[in-house]
């Protein structure tokens, strides 16, 4: 068995999914109206990756979890007030845009630089986790670009499970079409895993974990390196929220028989 993994989770903030988003044009490219005021959450798929990382670290003695997060420093600080209470990790903060309109190539370059600069990083023990896509850019390419920049050969997408074997090899379940899983066995670290939802529930808040994490979070935020992640080579012509309001017909005070008949007729059309 390995001496433990160094699990680096890449994840940033996204607007709370319940917020209404309105695009606007800024000098830096497209943005969101009141972007800095919108409540944020840890990107959902990255959050699953973080919880899976913590679970794996708990099972394999000597493992440690890092969270590499690219976002506006002030918003990262707010985010950490909740995320830090979930699972133990060491934060590596990068001060820059977390906009969904930034270029994944630029984001991957900045993340790769931050991962490579983690003190004591041992590539033979390295597992890089992240979400299979973000809820902002939703491109699903950043982790592969990061994988290439770190010169890692093994990448898995849409991961729901990792099982480490006694010889340090591991089995991975990746989502593929039609509700199926592709099962693979990798000889061991290093590897990059882009997670789907995994199988774990969100851990409850643990104030003790929060206190330990926050000792490292504040210094990490203080020394967060500024980075200029922008729209790269993308020339945006237009960003819009297409009209989607439908004229909903409400059918009420009608018997179940009549409703069922109407539904069946509609299905059969």
């Amino acid at each position: 068995m390995t001496d433990g993994f160094q699990i680096v989770v890449c994840g940033s903030l996204v607007p709370d999914p319940l917020q209404t988003l309105e695009p606007l044009t800024t000098p830096q490219g497209p943005g969101l109206k009141n972007e800095l005021m919108l409540p944020s959450v840890l990107d959902p798929w990255s959050a699953h990756a973080l919880f899976e990382a913590a679970n794996l670290a708990k099972q394999i003695a000597g493992s440690k979890v890092y969270l590499v997060s690219l976002g506006p420093k002030a918003k990262l600080q707010q985010l950490m007030m909740t995320v830090a209470q979930k699972v133990p990790f060491e934060l590596v903060a990068i001060d820059g845009s977390a906009s969904g309109f930034t270029d994944a190539h630029e984001a991957a370059a900045v993340l790769a630089e931050a991962v490579a600069a983690i003190p004591g990083l041992d590539k033979n023990r390295l597992l890089v986790f992240g979400g299979c896509a973000s809820a902002s850019r939703d491109a699903g390419v950043t982790m592969q670009l990061l994988c290439e920049r770190l010169a890692i050969r093994d990448f898995f997408a849409g991961v729901d499970e990792i099982k480490v074997k006694p010889d340090s090899s591991f089995e991975v379940l990746e989502r593929i079409e039609g509700g199926q899983y592709q099962v693979s066995v990798c000889k061991g670290a290093p590897a990059v895993l882009a997670w789907a939802t995994g199988n774990l529930p969100e851990p409850p808040n643990n104030p003790q974990v929060g206190m330990v994490n926050m000792r490292g979070v504040m210094p990490a935020l203080m020394k967060a390196k500024p980075s200029k992640v922008g729209t790269g080579g993308i020339a945006y012509e237009k960003t819009e929220v297409p009209a989607q309001k439908r004229a909903t017909r409400i059918v009420k005070d009608v018997g179940a028989d009549q409703i069922a008949a109407e539904i069946v007729e509609w299905i059969k059309q």
Binding site: P17, P44, R137, D160, G178, E240
Partner: protein, 340 residues
Amino acid sequence: MKILALFHTQDDGSLPKAALEVLTTAMAIKEQTGGTLAVGILGQGAANAAETVAGCGAESFLTVGSEAVAQARYATDTAAATALIRDSGAELVLAPGTARFARCLPGAAHRTGAQIDTHIVSVKAEGGQVQAQRWFYRQRILGTFSRAARPWIMLADAGVNMPWHGASGAASPKEVAVGFSDADLRTSVTGVRSPAADAQTIKPDAALLFVAGAGWTKKQKDGQFHIAEAGVLIQDFLIKAKSSLGSSKSLVDLQSEGQETLNFMTHMNQVGQTGSTPRHAKGLSACCHGEEPHAVGWRFINERRAINLDPNCGWAQGKADVVYVGDAFEIMAKVNALLS
């Protein structure tokens, strides 16, 4: 402009439907730009697959069909795609956004110095400029954009174009040599895990998507839980209506939190923010009150109907075409009886 339509084969050696949809787009872009089209195929039986699209009018066919790409593995697929892109000299690469290509083509983009965009829903060329459309913020904002850098790789979403139909014939494909290293073979694909045939609830080709919400697992009007009954009703409906099954996040979360719920429902069924955004002609939801299934998960459902106890449910109003106010248990039982 040099265009490469890049495909992979399936386990049976055929091309996926999504590839044929991309071929339709690639031929249109060729027409619009006056460019040239090459077809590149990787995977088991690539040369035979090239014959099936020989009538598309491509100037050349390139394949990588070696044993190493029989498995859908990142390292070997990335190396093969890189070789095909380089050999074609393509400025524009169009590929289907399948799980296999979504996994490996970003890596190939890095190795070929290309830019890459995914989930493309529209691409067209006007005045020599290629413009693409995709959704941002999980189907909330539609963006139209272009890139000056070449090569530019685009992965198109399935279901947005008609599949190409044409004659097969002699493609005379060129097998492109790829030097796979031992490091590329550290991972072995050992198989595919499918749900049992009678438990297969995700059917991408189904005309109808049925989305179940957490309401099925709540206390009903008699003050009791009826989870087993809900399971029977839903599974019965899926079989009779030949429907695919989606779920709200709250319903599948109940399961991971250890609560009793519908045992055939997994995170794979989830639609919405952290789930899928499937494409079906029709969608019917029941006991579903969240925004995400309706706004995000239903983005690409054409006709939408909902069964809901609350006529004022803000998330169904304005997002569904019809909201039936009633007890889903009662209505679905009668629907099943009528479908029998």
